[in-house]
């Protein structure tokens, strides 16, 4: 049954035979008195040949049913980095006994034995220096045990899809349950290659045949597959399992580790799902976490994990030799002085004895009258819900997903969560069910509070979290939806209960999801300090005080009324569809709230203007009382703004520029836009930075990369880089995205102690400091003459008679792209293809950018949410195919 270790074939793709090494190791535990032979990858010899000084070792442990081949990219990347002059990290990647090319012992090896095996191996090779462990799958557990048991050597911990704890009461994932069932076990894992093949098939994108063959190579016969079955049998599915005690020991030990930690995750893993990531994050809250959206179990095959590891080691462990202190993302040096911080619920506290109206919900479904809530009622409700949530165990740092439509209920729940330090997770229903599911699973909330549709989706789609219904449900319905409490019950529980301590300024407060119109939705983490700063900048810039009165037709701002200490009204509309807002509904909300400030989205403005004919004289007189209105979310044309202002003749129209990561960056009025129109600048003028915000531009180089040091020099095209006191803290579980978004901003002078953020938008500043937006970074054309942003040329083309809307995209290889204009014509286009000769000639003549082709389409592809952001990436791919001579339909 035993078979000594051997070397892998020398022709496996990506595997350098010089890394392979056979080690004789004195056995421990059940092997005491004998020696075992191991195969491992060890880059020490290759690094020594290159005469570099090794700063530390990455001890890598594969899972089941793979082998050290999993780490070939890490070995290659670290050797490459060392040869390029970066600190040299040695990689020792073992094949566990009975796995890969190591010895087949034929013995049952429970977890405790495997932990002893690895320690014996590292002793045998004399591994001491600084060590960073790296583990995947069940190898993650063994690597964590090594980390816990070797505190003197350990300087860091890296994990890929793994788990350390299995919550009681939750069934283990179905595929493993099946594989572990008696009878199935031997058949699926040992007798055939089914388990092996199933695991390899998880790779996304699919593995190439030669890589798949390399993974299978050491497991050619049933005799060589014994270890695969042994691992599956050793999964501690319940409390009585023999390995449970060892697992619990490791789990407890990990929670005490304070070395830098990195977790790289493939969320599409059917086994090691986000549930286990969330558990690990709870144990290692300081860890840098990145979820590769779309990647699966074999994340090391699916995504550039090796590069991420090399970058992370350089960033967190620098020269490696000296263990850096654990980075504590939750306790960065607080910005500004602590006294300046006024919590977001302060506006409620201040008016708790006031019987004036605070919130008005104009939604009159079923003909009921608008719902009015006084300051006293709102404050009381917030306190009850807050205390009630605390009583059922929701506390500081717990994530609460809010699937409640905007209105008084959402407002009360939101402030209650913030008050107890729970982190609210808010995703726009506009993401659609798929996008919303992805967002909710990614954030892994502890609690979901919703209306029936949201709860039904949560149940059907397996969203995590304790479920609380916004309204009281019949017992059967509650049971069917897996609902444990209604909000009314929670509030009742909190009636006389004390409130817990307030969260601190630097505690996390909210996770807001991006719209997804510019890639998969990302969770954006805000701290209390930043929410308060947002409230303050809004109040300051738009002169909002107690008497202002807000009409909030745009969700993010609908929630800020109570914080601003003024009454707010949500107009009667389907909030998930801004196009349902009518002019009369706005007038009614203005009347009810005596509002002087109106927040609208571009799509809402379009419909308000379109329905203006229905306004009565009384409506018009109410609208005349508005002094400010804002359009936020996407650019709108000056003409549309002017049409809206005709309805609110005494109001100044504003169009602030911002994004989920920084809701208010710059602001410009209609007059400002008109003044800028005479400038020769390309792009959309979005005005000057608001308050203490700062805006710089990181110049694009010839390859279209924003490599320039961010500067305020006018006329330079580059990525827009912003800093603001209310800027997001970070992205949620997207450490690599965080790194990219803050790249090369360390040395910049900060705005009011805040950080910097690369927006992914491109544009330039003018001599007056105004910002001009010229498109998205991925939409920049990289031509032989350098980078070209699309918006300037699009504006030129849209001035041509007969052109309704235009997009400028690139075709051809990066660095040699040619510009193509794609237009919607006022006459309409039946079939996508070459534009009419006369239109093409006019379009070419309209812009200084050489256009190789002018194409006409029935309609340009746009985002669903705003119907205004043109999907230029898709359009570019379409034009590429069309102009290569392929037959393609509409874009």
């Amino acid at each position: 049954m035993t078979e000594a270790a051997s070397r892998p074939p020398t022709d496996l793709p990506g595997l350098d035979p010089r890394w392979s090494r056979i080690v004789e190791v004195p056995g421990r535990g059940i092997d005491a008195g004998t020696a075992r032979s191991w195969h491992c990858l060890d880059t020490a010899a290759v690094l020594e040949e290159s005469r570099v000084d090794i700063v530390g070792t990455i001890l890598a442990v594969h899972g089941n049913p793979t082998w050290s081949y999993l780490w070939r990219h890490v070995a290659a990347a670290t050797v490459r980095a060392a040869e390029a002059g970066a600190p040299a990290w040695r990689v020792v990647a073992v094949d566990q006994l009975d796995m890969g090319w190591s010895e087949r012992t034929g013995l049952h090896r429970p977890l405790e034995q495997r932990v002893a095996d690895l320690a014996a191996l590292t002793d045998a090779i004399g591994l001491d220096g600084p060590v960073v462990t790296l583990g995947h799958d069940w190898g993650g557990v063994v690597s964590m045990a090594w980390a816990v048991d070797h505190p003197d050597s350990l300087v860091g911990l890296m994990l890929l899809n793994t788990a350390i704890h299995h919550p009681g009461g939750v069934p283990i994932p179905a595929p493993l349950r099946l594989a572990g069932a008696r009878g199935m076990l031997a058949a699926s894992t040992v007798g055939t290659t089914a388990f092996l093949d199933t695991t390899l098939a998880l790779a996304s994108p699919t593995l190439s045949p030669d890589v798949r063959a390399a993974y299978r190579a050491p497991y050619a016969t049933a005799a060589r597959r014994g270890g695969i079955g042994g691992f599956v049998a050793d999964i501690p599915a319940d409390e009585r399992h023999e390995s449970r005690a060892e697992l619990d020991r490791i789990a407890a030990g990990v929670a005490r580790l304070d070395v830098p930690a990195l977790m790289l995750w493939g969320p599409r893993d059917p086994i090691f799902s986000d549930r286990y990531l969330d558990d690990l994050v709870d144990r290692l809250p300081h860890a840098d976490v990145h979820r590769f959206e779309g990647a699966s179990h074999l994340v090391a095959e699916d995504r550039p994990v090796a590069t991420a590891i090399v970058d992370w080691l350089a960033e967190r462990l620098g020269e490696g030799a000296d263990a850096a202190p654990a980075p504590d993302a939750r306790a960065d040096a607080p910005a500004g002085s602590a006294d300046a911080f006024v919590p977001i619920w302060h506006g409620l506290d201040a008016r708790r004895d006031d019987d004036a109206v605070a919130v008005i919900d104009m939604a009159t479904s079923g003909g009921s009258a608008p719902r009015e809530v006084t300051w006293r009622q709102l404050d009381d409700r917030v306190r009850r819900i807050a205390a009630g949530l605390a009583r059922i165990g929701v506390g500081r740092g717990d994530r609460v997903s809010l699937l409640v439509p905007p209105g008084p209920t959402l407002t009360a729940v939101l402030y209650a969560c913030l008050r107890i330090g729970a982190v609210v997770v808010v995703a726009d229903a506009g993401l659609g069910v798929r996008g919303l599911t992805r967002a909710v699973r990614g954030a892994w909330p502890d609690v979901v509070i919703g209306e029936v549709p949201g709860l039904a989706a949560a149940r059907a789609l397996g969203w995590p979290g304790l479920r609380i219904s916004a309204r009281r449900l019949p017992a059967a319905a509650a049971a069917a939806l897996g609902v444990s409490h209604s909000l009314g019950e929670v509030a009742a529980l909190g009636a006389d209960a004390p409130l817990p301590a307030e969260p601190a300024a630097d505690d996390e407060a909210a996770i807001l999801f991006t719209s997804g119109s510019t890639g998969p939705a990302k969770g954006v983490v805000y701290r209390h300090r930043q929410l308060s700063a947002l409230r303050d900048v809004l109040a300051e810039h738009f002169a909002i005080d107690e008497d202002s009165g807000l009409v909030t037709g745009f969700a993010p701002f609908a929630l800020l009324g109570p914080a601003l200490g003024t009454r707010s009204a949500t107009p009667d509309m389907d909030v998930s569809s801004p196009r349902t807002l009518t002019a009369r509904a706005v007038a009614a909300a203005v009347r009810a709230s005596r509002g002087s400030i109106v927040f609208l989205s571009p799509a809402a403005i379009l419909n308000v203007v379109a329905t203006a004919d229905a306004l009565t004289a009384a409506d018009r007189s109410d609208l005349a009382g508005v002094r400010t209105f804002l359009s936020t979310g996407a650019p709108v044309s000056p003409d549309l703004l002017a049409s809206a202002r005709a309805l609110m003749p005494n109001a100044t129209p504003h169009t602030p520029y911002g994004m989920t990561e920084c809701l208010l960056v710059t602001d410009v009025t209609l007059e400002g836009i008109r003044a800028a129109a005479s400038q020769p600048d390309a792009g959309v003028c979005v005005g000057l930075p608001i308050g203490t915000n700062r805006v710089l531009v990181s110049a694009l180089d010839a390859a279209g990369i924003a490599s320039g040091a961010p500067s305020a020099e006018p006329g330079v095209l580059g990525e827009i880089v912003v800093s603001a006191p209310h800027l997001k803290q970070r992205y949620d579980r997207l450490a690599l995205t965080d790194r990219a978004a803050t790249r090369a901003t360390d040395a910049l002078p900060e705005a009011d102690g805040a950080r910097w953020h690369r927006t992914g938008d491109v544009g330039h500043l003018d001599a007056e400091g105004r910002l001009w937006v010229e498109g998205r970074l991925p939409h920049v054309l990289v031509t032989a003459d350098g980078p070209v942003a699309p918006v300037g040329a699009e504006q030129d083309v849209e001035r041509v008679d007969g052109v309704r809307r235009a997009a400028v995209v690139g075709v051809g290889p990066h660095g040699l792209q040619q510009a193509v204009a794609v237009v919607e014509t006022t006459a309409g286009t039946r079939r996508a293809g070459l534009a009419d000769a006369a239109v093409a000639a006019d379009v070419r003549a309209s812009t200084a950018l050489p256009l190789v082709a002018v194409l006409a389409v029935p309609s340009l592809p746009t985002d669903i949410r705003h119907n205004s952001k043109i999907d230029r990436t898709r359009l570019s791919a379409w034009a590429d195919r069309l102009l290569a001579g392929e037959r393609v339909g509409a874009p």
Partner: protein
């Protein structure tokens, strides 16, 4: 410099010879018919005649070799005799006569296997993959020429792409003639993006290759206007310049290729005086993108085109109006 231009009775050859005369060179030409280039002295004869070639290269410092059998159909043996063996004989004679610079005028089709070419450079010539006898024999000729690049004779290969302009009997007149007879279809709506070259730019580029052979030798370059256009736009532009109705009907490219292939086979059995209306090669040319990276040639030859596409069309229109 004393320069020999072969094939100077052709559309491009005449333009090159005239450009070199204007540049102050002493120009000699070699072809069967009179070149008609003012200021050049003609040697009349064939590339297949060794004595004629020896006489033509005698005392010459630079050679620009354009003479070739250019056609979409014809006897394969004739393509070989002129394009391969003729080039070999000329290279031999030039080397023997001490010629220092040799510009081989080639074609992008020498490296075109039929797939779309999008922003590519001058890939190595490949007789195995080239389509049709013309492209195949030109590929062999280019390889022969570049293999002769040495310290004593600098060889540069220039591949002008779709040269057109007033007086062009090959491309321009054929497009106009077919459009006039309503026999010019667009394939897939004419959207394939193609590069083309106004004749004056081709001539100045080739003259630049001769001037810069000392730095650019041993390499092949594709030469174009650097202004790719959808083939439908380009043909429409040429038709408008010539005052004929532009093509308006489109057929699927696959059908065009199949038809071309069929016609090609029939033509091989019953060769006639005219060329087939649509060969497979032409169908590919008109339905797949081929545009090129112009940075290498502009840098190596220190040259840029001086006549834009629009200016070229305007000159064509003026010429047609006369």
């Amino acid at each position: 410099m004393i320069v020999l231009v072969t094939g100077a009775s052709g559309f491009l050859g005449r333009a090159v010879a005239a450009e070199l005369v204007a540049g102050g060179h002493e120009v000699r030409t070699l072809q069967r018919r009179r070149s008609g280039v003012a200021g050049a002295s003609d040697v009349l004869g064939s590339l297949t005649d060794a004595a004629t070639i020896a006489r033509a290269v005698d005392g010459v410092e630079g050679v620009v070799h354009l003479a070739a059998k250019v056609s979409l159909a014809g006897d394969p043996a004739e393509f070989r005799a002129v394009n391969v063996e003729g080039t070999r004989a000329l290279l031999d004679a030039a080397a023997a006569a001490g010629v220092a610079r040799f510009v081989q005028v080639s074609s992008p089709s020498v490296a075109h296997a039929g797939a779309a070419l999008v922003g590519v450079g001058a890939e190595p010539a490949s007789p195995e993959q080239a389509r049709g006898d013309y492209a195949r024999t030109k590929a062999e000729a280019e390889l022969l020429a570049l293999a002769r690049d040495s310290a004593s004779m600098a060889v540069v290969a220039i591949r002008p792409h779709l040269v057109w302009g007033p007086g062009d009997a090959q491309l321009t007149e054929r497009i106009v003639d077919r459009a006039r007879r309503g026999r010019l279809p667009l394939l897939n709506g004419g959207t394939a993006l193609i590069d083309s070259t106004y004749v004056d730019n081709a001539a100045s580029g080739i003259a630049a290759a001769l001037r810069r052979a000392d730095v650019a030798h041993g390499r092949a370059f594709v030469l174009t206007n650097g202004e790719p256009r959808p083939v439908g736009d380009l043909m429409a532009g040429i038709c408008r310049a010539a005052g004929v109705r532009e093509p308006r009907w489109s057929i699927p490219a696959g059908l065009g290729r199949a038809a071309g292939s069929l016609v090609e086979r029939v033509w091989a059995v019953r060769p006639g005086a005219d060329e087939p209306p649509m060969t497979r090669f032409l169908a590919e040319q008109l339905s797949t993108a081929h545009w090129f990276d112009q940075r290498p040639i502009r840098e190596a030859l220190d040259w840029t085109p001086t006549v834009s596409l629009d200016e070229g069309l305007a000159r064509l229109a003026a010429a047609c109006a006369r």
